[in-house]
């Protein structure tokens, strides 16, 4: 898995790690049941603090992306699990909220918006990696 840290993006490091692991899981690059690198090994490799990785992993666990098994490690959850579905649905709604606001500002009526949505949906890969943003 590719995992890189930007030191100028302004985004907290744990967020950067979360985003990259989440996309790797959603794109299928990381498969269900696969183990993430151990906390301390990853902290060493990326030269960040152990607590930073701990935070990234535990928040990913809250989202249902991974699961921590005490003493064994952190494992990728099946993509369609309920917690994750709910999280993803929330993100879709949030994204659509922005879209609707923009459409209203531009005076685009619902029917036209539906058409745009259908068109966009069709042109994007099923595995599209822009995960709802």
């Amino acid at each position: 898995m590719r995992l890189i840290i930007s030191s100028v993006s302004g985004e907290p490091i744990y967020e950067q790690i979360k985003t990259q692991i989440r996309s790797a899981v959603l794109s299928g690059e990381l498969e269900a049941g696969e183990a993430l690198p151990s906390l301390r090994k990853l902290a060493k490799e990326l030269r960040v603090s152990v607590l930073t990785i701990t935070r990234a992993y535990s928040e990913l666990a809250d989202e249902g992306v991974v699961r921590n098994i005490q003493g064994k490690g952190t494992f990728v959850m099946p993509k369609g699990n309920d917690v994750m579905k709910a999280q993803l649905a929330r993100r879709v709604r949030k994204g659509l909220g922005d879209v609707v606001a923009a459409a209203k500002a531009a005076g685009i009526p619902p029917a036209e918006l539906h058409a745009i949505l259908d068109e966009t949906y069709a042109t994007q890969d099923a595995a599209g990696d822009r995960d709802g943003r």
């Binding site: 302004g10 960040v48 603090s49 607590l51 930073t52 535990s58």
Partner: protein, 301 residues
């Protein structure tokens, strides 16, 4: 939530409890309390003269405390001093070896000092660091001297490593190498590092915990992220620096064409309610916090 994982079974590698020390010069280290869980890196920060080195000397029992208690790996640092020292490694900003000793002679001396001395490991570190065993201590560069102290600390199986300003005067390569070694050192979760420095870029990424002392008092101790998340730097023109802002600011630095001020996050949120689009709000770095908590409020230049 992060700390939930720690509060359970993780033992403390270091517990400092209400420690005070008064010097004849008038300097006082006052009622310092913090815990460092085993398996993590803690940065000890503060301006020069804040009491960082005094605190380290108290932990090593090189100076006697007036009050409070210190436990190293669960042992009292005075009552169990011998056993504590066996498990402690120290790296100072200047050497503590006899200047005319060679590296070989240093090893001989350390061997006698530590029952757990590991000759092979010392040999490995000398190779890795490019330490010439025939060289005298006084012939070593700053970087090499630091590496010699580090090699000694790591070769007697120290479980707690205490470094006092180890990176001052080191070039970027040596600092980089040191940070790599510290990350390796704590990887197994049983080794712990307390690291005092004023070069905060070393800590910005590596430290799990921060203990910040200034004017002999504890200002903050806890996870580094909480420390950084607690503050914001607010910048603006001098006209924007009104009564409310001045009252809320922890510290303000004014200059000819503007100001920057350190504010607590909750106060920044309250200000945002007043809508002040002309103000620039930025995350605070460790340096910003040290700098702006040490200017006199309101009238600093």
């Amino acid at each position: 939530m992060v700390l939930d994982a720690l509060s359970g079974s993780t033992p403390f590698a270091l517990s400092v409890n209400g420690v005070s020390k008064q010097y004849d010069s008038g300097f006082r280290l006052d009622d310092i309390t913090f815990d460092l869980p085993a398996g993590y890196i803690m940065g000890l920060i503060g301006p020069n003269g804040a009491g960082k080195s005094t605190l380290i000397k108290l932990i090593l029992n090189m100076v006697r405390r007036d009050a409070g208690g210190i436990e190293v790996l669960g042992l009292d640092n005075i009552a169990d001093e011998e056993r504590v020292k066996e498990q402690l490694g120290v790296v100072f900003d200047s050497g503590y070896f006899v200047e005319v000793w060679t590296v070989n002679k240093v090893e001989q001396a350390m061997r006698g000092l530590y029952a757990t001395w590991n000759h092979r490991r010392f040999e490995q570190y000398c190779k890795r660091f490019g330490l010439d065993r025939r060289k005298k201590v006084k012939e070593l560069s700053r970087g090499m001297l630091m590496k010699l102290m580090l090699a000694v600390a790591l070769s007697h199986d120290a479980r707690l490593l205490i470094l006092d300003e180890p990176t001052s005067g080191l070039d970027v390569l040596s600092r980089d190498e040191l940070m790599d070694i510290l990350h390796e050192y704590i990887e197994d979760g049983e080794h712990t590092v307390l690291f005092s420095t004023h070069i905060t870029s070393d800590l910005e990424s590596a430290a799990d915990f921060i203990t910040y002392i200034t004017h002999g008092r504890l200002y903050f101790t806890g996870p580094k992220d909480e420390f950084l998340d607690a503050f914001r730097v607010v910048k603006g023109g001098l006209a924007d620096l009104d009564e409310t802002l001045r009252a809320k600011a922890v510290g303000i630095h004014r200059y000819e064409t503007g100001f920057d001020a350190l504010l607590r996050v909750e106060d920044v949120k309250a200000l945002a309610g007043d809508r002040r689009p002309q103000l620039l709000v930025e995350p605070a770095g460790i340096d910003d916090i040290i700098r702006l908590t040490n200017v006199r409020k309101g009238n600093a230049r």
